[in-house]
Symmetry: T
Subunit: 151 residues, 12 copies
Amino acid sequence: MAKPIYILNGPNLNLLGAREPEIYGSQTLADIEKLSATRAQAGGFSAVFRQTNREGELVEWIHEAREKGSAVVINAAAYTHTSVALHDALKAVDLPVIEVHLSNIHRRESFRHHSFISAAADGVIVGLGAHGYELAVDAAIALAKSRTKAP
Amino acid sequence: MAKPIYILNGPNLNLLGAREPEIYGSQTLADIEKLSATRAQAGGFSAVFRQTNREGELVEWIHEAREKGSAVVINAAAYTHTSVALHDALKAVDLPVIEVHLSNIHRRESFRHHSFISAAADGVIVGLGAHGYELAVDAAIALAKSRTKAP
Amino acid sequence: MAKPIYILNGPNLNLLGAREPEIYGSQTLADIEKLSATRAQAGGFSAVFRQTNREGELVEWIHEAREKGSAVVINAAAYTHTSVALHDALKAVDLPVIEVHLSNIHRRESFRHHSFISAAADGVIVGLGAHGYELAVDAAIALAKSRTKAP
Amino acid sequence: MAKPIYILNGPNLNLLGAREPEIYGSQTLADIEKLSATRAQAGGFSAVFRQTNREGELVEWIHEAREKGSAVVINAAAYTHTSVALHDALKAVDLPVIEVHLSNIHRRESFRHHSFISAAADGVIVGLGAHGYELAVDAAIALAKSRTKAP
Amino acid sequence: MAKPIYILNGPNLNLLGAREPEIYGSQTLADIEKLSATRAQAGGFSAVFRQTNREGELVEWIHEAREKGSAVVINAAAYTHTSVALHDALKAVDLPVIEVHLSNIHRRESFRHHSFISAAADGVIVGLGAHGYELAVDAAIALAKSRTKAP
Amino acid sequence: MAKPIYILNGPNLNLLGAREPEIYGSQTLADIEKLSATRAQAGGFSAVFRQTNREGELVEWIHEAREKGSAVVINAAAYTHTSVALHDALKAVDLPVIEVHLSNIHRRESFRHHSFISAAADGVIVGLGAHGYELAVDAAIALAKSRTKAP
Amino acid sequence: MAKPIYILNGPNLNLLGAREPEIYGSQTLADIEKLSATRAQAGGFSAVFRQTNREGELVEWIHEAREKGSAVVINAAAYTHTSVALHDALKAVDLPVIEVHLSNIHRRESFRHHSFISAAADGVIVGLGAHGYELAVDAAIALAKSRTKAP
Amino acid sequence: MAKPIYILNGPNLNLLGAREPEIYGSQTLADIEKLSATRAQAGGFSAVFRQTNREGELVEWIHEAREKGSAVVINAAAYTHTSVALHDALKAVDLPVIEVHLSNIHRRESFRHHSFISAAADGVIVGLGAHGYELAVDAAIALAKSRTKAP
Amino acid sequence: MAKPIYILNGPNLNLLGAREPEIYGSQTLADIEKLSATRAQAGGFSAVFRQTNREGELVEWIHEAREKGSAVVINAAAYTHTSVALHDALKAVDLPVIEVHLSNIHRRESFRHHSFISAAADGVIVGLGAHGYELAVDAAIALAKSRTKAP
Amino acid sequence: MAKPIYILNGPNLNLLGAREPEIYGSQTLADIEKLSATRAQAGGFSAVFRQTNREGELVEWIHEAREKGSAVVINAAAYTHTSVALHDALKAVDLPVIEVHLSNIHRRESFRHHSFISAAADGVIVGLGAHGYELAVDAAIALAKSRTKAP
Amino acid sequence: MAKPIYILNGPNLNLLGAREPEIYGSQTLADIEKLSATRAQAGGFSAVFRQTNREGELVEWIHEAREKGSAVVINAAAYTHTSVALHDALKAVDLPVIEVHLSNIHRRESFRHHSFISAAADGVIVGLGAHGYELAVDAAIALAKSRTKAP
Amino acid sequence: MAKPIYILNGPNLNLLGAREPEIYGSQTLADIEKLSATRAQAGGFSAVFRQTNREGELVEWIHEAREKGSAVVINAAAYTHTSVALHDALKAVDLPVIEVHLSNIHRRESFRHHSFISAAADGVIVGLGAHGYELAVDAAIALAKSRTKAP
């Protein structure tokens, strides 16, 4: 059976739905988990869906995905902009990697315009809310199936 | 009947398939047009698919879409990084706008890391090749249906 | 008889009145054309009033004004901030050049703070809406009459 | 009766006519005062016309204009480029503010390209010599009459 | 008897209560003077409370405080961001120096993020409105009593 | 009964009193805890006082304070200068937030001059040693009582 | 028979001889065309010599040269400094590319010091006036004959 | 008996040998541990050798080394470039500190060129692979024996 | 009889001898006045020696020197680094201008490395304490005698 | 008889043919000397061809050329990017100066993008290998014959 | 017999022991030569140990080492930060290259933080005084023996 | 007898009088040598006056002055702006150091605004032509007599 899609979420995303809904929308992370799992199953994959506020734990989950997953979908939230550790972890992963952001980070503060994740990802999907996760899962599955990760 | 999705393509994309295939893939723009049209139809929309090497013509097509379209999907190619005129045209459009790029611009030269389009778009999809257009059409349709453009 | 004042308008200004009225006001370009023509006539000049979304066409109209005009009033809109070609065209013009902007570009995004037009213009009028065109025409006429272009 | 237009001039402008005439022209500040007063009267206003070399005095005159004036026309000269105090004073003024410069500051040293005044002004008129004051008075009066200060 | 605490206020603070109350609050400078004096007396000190719009006068009051005061509390307002002269004057003062700002300058325009005062002060209190003056007086008194100025 | 004031301390502050006393003073964190608790009680509040070397744990304590606290006083130490995650966590908190630093960070290395915390805080108190915590508690209580958090 | 050398000229070069002769010399573009054609014939090639003020047209002529030419000599004039579209078009050309400028752009304004063309060209010839075109044609022919384009 | 040398390793180093071997070599961290221990023993010291992906844990291990170690050898990996917390922890350590990197970080991406560790270390050894750890242990022992830490 | 040498001193120099003597030396401004006057007399000139803490007053003294002096020696102190107004005033002076600084500003904080005075002065003398004034007077006299001001 | 063309070569060019041939080609400096001499003779000039690794020696050869030469062709190699001394020496030369580089420096590391030579040269020829020297000699001769050095 | 290790020293290192001993230590260059030779012999190599104050001579010694040496150890001192010529010379050397510095350059002035040598070296050893030379010799020998130079 | 004053001159100064006289004046270096020697003798010192185009030779002359001189007067010309080696050599000199420049470098190209010499000198004299050498000799002698070199 196919290995699962790892969908990893970074700091403060546990507050989703409650925190600044005018930016992040009113759906909770549990809602997004459901949407993502459904989408993965439609593509013939299961999903591992997790959230943590700790950079080191994200690094370790990426290591785990490296062994046990088919692809990584990651919303690193605030760590997107500051974490070389995540960049390095993802560079070590020989699987499709899709970066996703709920809000359009390019319309926000300038410190959100640079991502350390992007240069280690295959694709990036930004600004489409919860629906962005569904598209990211689609993209991850398409790449996993073609087994071609961009060099 | 629903107004069409405008899918607009910028300079040099007419060479797709022939130009630097290690970066842009081997599919031609005609291939992508077909994929996009199919995807739009699956969502209940028709597609207007165009390419031009001229910045001013892109501006005018955006004006046209503003009147006659349901949404805009745009791959402004090189103009992404230099055109305030496209930024302004898209800001004047009260429709969903999805920016798409075939390659992962964040892995390339630094002058490709900034986009004047992003801050005028709802969503951005990067690095997923021709498949990215399909996801962009999906996203455009979803937004068009919910009639909610991010402020 | 005196050669006309050329009043040249750049990209997206055809949308005036409809596009972001909280920034650009509710008057249309046709309204501004009327105001400008009236003002020119009051000063004893006719006006050539044009708009284009194409940088190259603006360049060529400046070349035309060089032969057939008494002065140039230019609102290059978005090209203000990106066009060396317009800078060079205006430097080649041995006539009074007045730059005009409807909105106060210094209160907006930082990429609107620099103008390639200013260093090739005699005078600059910013932030006064349609009335700014009238003042620009006044200034152009005054300079044309004194036949003294700043070096 | 209408409150007067305050026309405030910054450091070294008392030397006008004598100082670097190739940049600033040969008219004196007294000449400009006369032109400005005449223009104001044509619009139905009186003018208060002053010059000082002291930043703090300019701040206080702006405070005075806030109580007793209809609009402010200001050529802050060198303080244009260095004074946050003037910026703050003008932000506190609920009247039309027009910034004016005799020379085209965009053609001069790079430290003259940024103005702390512009972001606190409604309009800016640059490079038109003494005539620029006349246009600034026109603009100030037009705005004062429409009682609409840009937000 | 103990020498007084000097509480010095910079440009435009005389407008307090009237100027941009959404940023600076509705209390007047007279209100703050009363709060500060009360707080100083509670700590066993009198207060000298002054405001000026002139950089040079602030410099001279600091020189005066150097001779006749126990400590300096200073809200240099706009001069905070531009005055090396105040920095130098405060460096020459062998007394406790507390910098205070009514609004949170770090949430405002980027030109307000740097302070020439901070590197010459012992402590900095920002964003707490009129209450910030009370805390600043407390801090100044505590330092004055311990007679230990940070090196 | 009133919810407690959360007083959160970041990395290396457990070494206080031992580490670089010429910068941070000779008081230990336990001393500061006592001072803070006393001050809180004087204002009618209890205090939750914690220290961690882990960014993620600080994020989670802020989430806890969001539910169970009246206000947050935070000395994020080194994370002040690098953590977008803390910025985001504090932005999601609808309570008074006071940032505090023992030393005057503006007199130290340039990488300590920028704080990601400040733009998410109501007030900032810098350079006043252990006494700064007391003032921060005062400020937090004053804001909590007025129930008005700056927008 | 050998395919021709394409010699492409950008905006404002149609004014050559008339525009700022102290910078660009007194020869007209027709003069340069003649010199270039003669030089090409001496090397056994014909020449296609064109000028346009439009960025998009230059892009398309490069595409044409890609099919029908032996080499490209390009003076992109103002677009040199702003056009990623020309950079991309030239990168897609598998022929020798020689960039040429009449004036020494390194002695002029700083915005003329960077060229988007250079990184997509094999060779660059600057500051030698009309004679530079002759050398560029020589270089293009030499490279076309050796059929070795630098990688 | 002498206290041990602490050899601390940062994020992703657990993947050594598997991750990007063209950059990091084919030796595993266990191999390096053995080499380091042998080297330490040759110098008369034992070694504590650890790896973690968590910044906070590295901070705490440095605190532990401060009490229980003779010297610190640290390869902070990705945290090298982003962690002020590690800088502060090392500054608080009154022992020899040697920074080590397997690859030559100066030949890689520009974000790897700055190290927050270097300014808190006595010595730095870069680019020598596993052998670099042996030299770092030698250096740490030499400094520990001379008991002279650079100020 | 020859017009006097104006020797103008900026903010905080009245504290000389008392303020930070390790930087500025132990001589008072009165000592320097005596040295300067003696030196001027030796060259056949009288000296006007003044100090002010006010930027505007310095501007006006320069205007006065323009009428009544033979040369200007100026130590603008803190205003050196921030005053465009002084730059402009000195540019308007058709007399020799010598800038002098007691301390070596190039060894101090980076904000003291740039001088707005230098580009408006003929000569600059830095770091030689009170003796620097004597040399500056010598230089001013030599230039005044040769009546050649550098262009 | 005509004075010779000086062809001066900077550091490491003695290794040509051996050093990084994928960048610099396989021809040796002796090969280039022969090509250059032949070309000079064809134009009626002799050639002085030299190489040194020493900046000072290059300066002195330029001084010599100033007296004894008709023109200078210079490939300053690494000193191109760091030597103000060469810039100054060439500015003092009243002869044609042509800068030449074997490789296309604009495609290489960013520290090779700026040249101190260019602003002191008449023309620049880049990226054309040994052939570039031949073109440079042609250009030098053409300029020497017309005796017009660009101002 | 094995070719020697070249140990090359740059400007001012002849003053070692006398010059700023608080930074560079009290050992002389002769002391370091002895330590290095001993270390090289222990590894089975001889050492060529030289010092010069001339950049060009360093370049030439590197060329010599290229022919006659087994490896290069280089302390380029001040030229480390300014010499592209040394960078290029070392890039042309197909031998192990170890950069060494006596002091920790990352703790000193910012102009010492960048090295043109590092990107052309295999390894870098910083801050370990004379002992650093011994480690550098060890590293050079280890690399020379394995005959593997990092690409 | 007193040791001599070393007066050291850098690259291209041998051309003085001939090179760009509008910048450097018409006096030759021999003229300046005579003026300087006379001035030194007046102060009771002899002078060693030298010029070289080689950075390394300047370094060595400074080393010589360190042993055999009373003070150093240095015009490093172009090396002023690029030489860390001269900075380091001068820092190692325990004698008065005066930097001198003939022209006012602050009025020239921006790359001449920074000096690596200034931070290693006691005093700096700029823009006073040959007379500046006389003042520099005076200053050197005064410092040498007081035997107090600034720290």
